[in-house]
Amino acid sequence: MATIADLRQKVSETQPKPAEAVTRELLAEGFDPIEILEEGVMSGLNDVGNRFAAKKAIVLDLVRAGVTAKTCIPLIEEALPRGETPKNKKKVVLGTLLSQHNIGKNLVGTLLSIGGFEVVDMGEKNAPWDFYETAEKSGADMIAVSVVFAPALEKFSELLGLLEETDVRTKYPVIVGGGVTTQKWATEQGADGWGAQAKDGVDLARSILGIGS
C-alpha cells in the first residue's frame, strides 16, 4: 500500500512515472487530494529545493522535480471536489529582462504554477514595454522579473518608471530576482520584493497578493 511519504520520496528523487503511479494509487485509496498535494508533491519539491540550497542538487534536479510534480498535479486537481481547486486565481506575468538566460525564470514559473498561480511566461529577451503590455493584456495581478546580467539592471529601473508613467505602478506589484541582483539594489529601485532563490518567488507572490500558503 502506497503512502504519502512514498510520493514525497518519488518527487524528491525526480521520478515522474513512479510518482504518477503512486499518486493514482493514493487517490484510489481515498487519501485527501489536498494532503497528497501538500504533504506529497510540495514537500518533495521542498526537499529538492533544500538540497539545492545546500549545494547537493543542481538546477536540472529542480527542473526535473517540477516536471515530476506536473505529472501528479492534474490527477490531484481532477480529484478535488468542485470549488476546492488549489488555484488561487492570481495571475503573474513572468519574464527575463533583456538576456536570453532562462534557467531561474523557468524555475520560478514552475514553482508559481505548482503554487496555484496562473503564470503568463513571456520568455526571454524582453524589454520593459513587453512587461507592461503583457500585464495589461492578460489582466495580471503581479509582474515577476528575472535580471541576470548587468545591463538589465538599469532596464529594471526603466520598467518601474514606465509603470509609474502609465499610472499602473500600484496595480502591478513587481518582484525581481536573478544573479546580478541584491536585496539592497532591489529596495533602492523600489521593487516590491526580491528573491534570492526561485522558491522565494512563490513566498513573495503569496505574501504581496495576500494569499495564505
Binding site: 543542481i58 538546477v59 536540472l60 526535473r64 516536471v67 533583456l98 548587468a150 545591463p151 538599469e154
Partner: protein, 452 residues
C-alpha cells in the same frame, strides 16, 4: 573562419529538430554524464587543481565525443548542428597556435606554454569602472595601464556618457562603446603604451553594437578582438555566426569564450571541464578562431573554490596537451570593492598560480578594482611562472587552508588613490606590502617585493 561556418549554417536548417526543453533536460545531460563515466573523470573535492596528464587527455577525448554526439543546438531553428570527427580534427589540425595582440612595443605573442615554462601567463587587467563619468572611467583605466606588469586590458562596461545612457538596441550603445574605446586609447597613450591590447568591446551587449563599435577605428584588428562566444550548454544562435563572419571579413581575432555554470545543468567541475573542451571545438568549427577564454562559475554566484579552480585547470591542461590554443582564464574573484578584501588578494594569487601550473597563456580581468591589485596579479603570474605543478598545488592548498577576514565595504578610487598623481595611497600600499611578505614566506619571489 572556414568551410565549417557554411556547413553550420546549412545544417542549422537540416539537422535533427528538437524542443529546447528536451535538449536541456534530457538530451545533452545524458550524453555528458555518459562520456564522463566512460572516461572515468572524477574530482576529489580536496583537490583544487587537476594536474594529471592522463586525466587531462581523458577530458579532451570526452569533450570531443560530447560535441560529436550532442552537436550544437541552434536556438533560431530548434535544430541540432552536428559535425563529423574528421571535420573537427581537421579544424584542430589547422588551428593557429600563435597569435599576436597589440602592436609596436606593446605587441605580445601568445604561444603554447606548458606548466612550469619560463614564459609567464600574460595578465590583462580590468580597466575602467561601472560609471557614466567618462573621466573617472579613464582614471581607473590609467591607474591599471601604468603598471609595468600590464600586458593588456579588458574594459569594464561604461554605463553612459554623462546623461546619455547606454541604451540597448540603439545607437546610444554604440556611441557609449566608442567612448569606451576612446578612453582606452587615451589612457594607453597616457601610460606610454599606445599599442596596448585593449581586449574586447565591453560596453556593447548586442552583435550590432559590437560590430558598429569598430567603425571609427579606435578599436581595430590590432588592439581589439570580437566575442563570438558560444551560449550556455552547447547552444548557438545566428548572432554567433554573424559575429564570426564579421571578424573574419575584417581580420579581427575572434574571442572564443566558454563560461559554463556549474550546478545549473552540469553536475560539477568534471562536466564543466568536458563542456569547455566541447564548446571550444564547436567555436573552432564555426569561427576558425584561436584565442580561447575559458572559465566556469557556480550557479550559486561564486568564482572561487576547489571546484572552480579544478574545472579551470582540467580544461586548460586538456587543451594545452591536445589543442595548443592560446588559453585564457579568469584572474580575479569578481568581488566588488576588492581593494581591502583579503579573500580577493589571496584568490587572485591562486588564479595566477593555477594558470602557471595548468599551462595557460593569459589571464583576463587579472587583479581587482584598482591598479595596485592589478600589479599584484601581474607580479604573482611572473613570480609563479616556473613553478612545477607540485609546487604550485602545495602553495594553493596552503592558501585554501587560510580563513579569510570578512570583506569590508567597497571604497571609491579617490579614497584609494591620489587622483592628481594617480598613485595609490599609503593604506592600500600597506595592503599590497602585506601580501608580498605573505607570498615570499610561501616561497614565491619578485624583484620589487624585497622592499617589503
Amino acid at each position: 573562419m572556414g568551410k565549417l561556418l557554411w556547413e553550420a549554417i546549412h545544417r542549422s536548417s537540416t539537422g535533427r529538430i528538437m524542443t529546447e526543453e528536451k535538449f536541456e533536460t534530457e538530451f545533452f545531460p545524458t550524453i555528458l554524464e555518459d562520456v564522463r563515466k566512460k572516461h572515468q573523470i572524477e574530482w576529489n573535492p580536496d583537490e583544487p587543481v587537476m594536474t594529471d596528464p592522463g586525466m587531462a587527455d581523458a577530458v579532451f577525448q570526452a569533450g570531443l565525443e560530447y560535441l560529436l554526439e550532442t552537436g550544437l543546438y541552434c536556438k533560431d531553428t530548434r535544430r541540432i548542428i552536428q559535425f563529423t570527427k574528421e571535420e573537427i580534427l581537421e579544424a584542430v589540425a589547422t588551428a593557429r597556435r600563435r597569435i599576436t595582440l597589440g602592436s609596436g612595443r606593446e605587441a605580445i605573442t601568445l604561444a603554447p606554454r606548458a606548466p612550469g615554462d619560463e614564459q609567464h601567463p600574460y595578465t590583462w587587467f580590468p580597466a575602467g569602472a561601472l560609471t557614466k563619468k567618462v573621466e573617472l572611467y579613464k582614471s581607473h583605466a590609467m591607474a591599471a595601464m601604468q603598471e609595468p606588469t600590464c600586458d593588456g586590458v579588458i574594459p569594464i562596461p561604461l554605463l553612459g556618457i554623462g546623461e546619455l545612457k547606454n541604451v540597448l538596441d540603439t545607437p546610444a550603445q554604440t556611441v557609449v562603446c566608442q567612448a569606451e574605446a576612446r578612453a582606452m586609447n587615451e589612457a594607453a597613450a597616457w601610460a606610454g603604451k599606445p599599442g596596448l591590447f585593449l581586449g574586447i568591446p565591453m560596453s556593447a551587449t548586442t552583435p550590432l553594437a559590437m560590430m558598429s563599435t569598430f567603425g571609427p577605428g579606435m578599436y581595430n584588428k590590432e588592439n581589439c578582438t570580437l566575442p563570438i562566444q558560444i551560449l550556455q550548454d552547447m547552444r548557438v544562435n545566428y548572432d554567433r555566426f554573424n559575429l564570426a563572419f564579421f571578424a573574419d571579413q575584417h581580420g579581427i581575432e575572434p574571442w572564443m569564450s566558454s563560461s559554463p555554470a556549474l550546478y545549473g545543468y552540469l553536475t560539477g567541475p568534471e562536466q564543466g571541464a568536458i563542456e569547455i573542451i566541447a564548446h571550444t571545438l564547436g567555436m573552432l568549427a564555426y569561427s576558425g578562431g584561436s584565442l580561447t577564454q575559458a572559465m566556469c562559475m557556480s550557479i550559486h554566484g561564486t568564482y572561487v573554490g576547489n571546484d572552480i579552480s579544478w574545472c579551470n585547470s582540467a580544461a586548460a591542461l586538456a587543451a594545452e596537451r591536445n589543442l595548443g590554443l592560446p588559453w585564457v582564464s579568469f584572474g580575479s574573484t569578481g568581488t566588488p570593492g576588492s581593494a581591502f578584501s583579503d579573500e580577493a588578494w589571496y584568490e587572485t594569487a591562486l588564479a595566477c598560480i593555477n594558470a602557471c601550473i595548468s599551462g595557460m597563456e593569459a589571464l583576463w580581468l587579472a587583479g581587482g578594482s584598482t591598479g595596485i591589485e592589478c600589479r599584484w596579479a601581474g607580479e604573482v603570474a611572473r613570480a609563479a611562472a616556473r613553478l612545477t605543478p607540485e609546487e604550485g598545488v602545495e602553495i594553493i592548498k596552503k592558501i585554501r587552508a587560510i580563513e579569510y577576514e570578512p570583506t569590508p565595504s567597497p571604497l571609491p578610487l579617490e579614497k584609494l588613490y591620489d587622483m592628481t598623481t594617480l598613485q595609490p595611497r599609503q593604506e592600500i600600499v600597506d595592503q599590497y606590502r602585506k601580501f608580498t611578505r605573505i607570498f615570499r614566506d610561501l616561497g614565491l619571489d619578485y624583484p620589487t617585493w624585497h622592499d617589503a
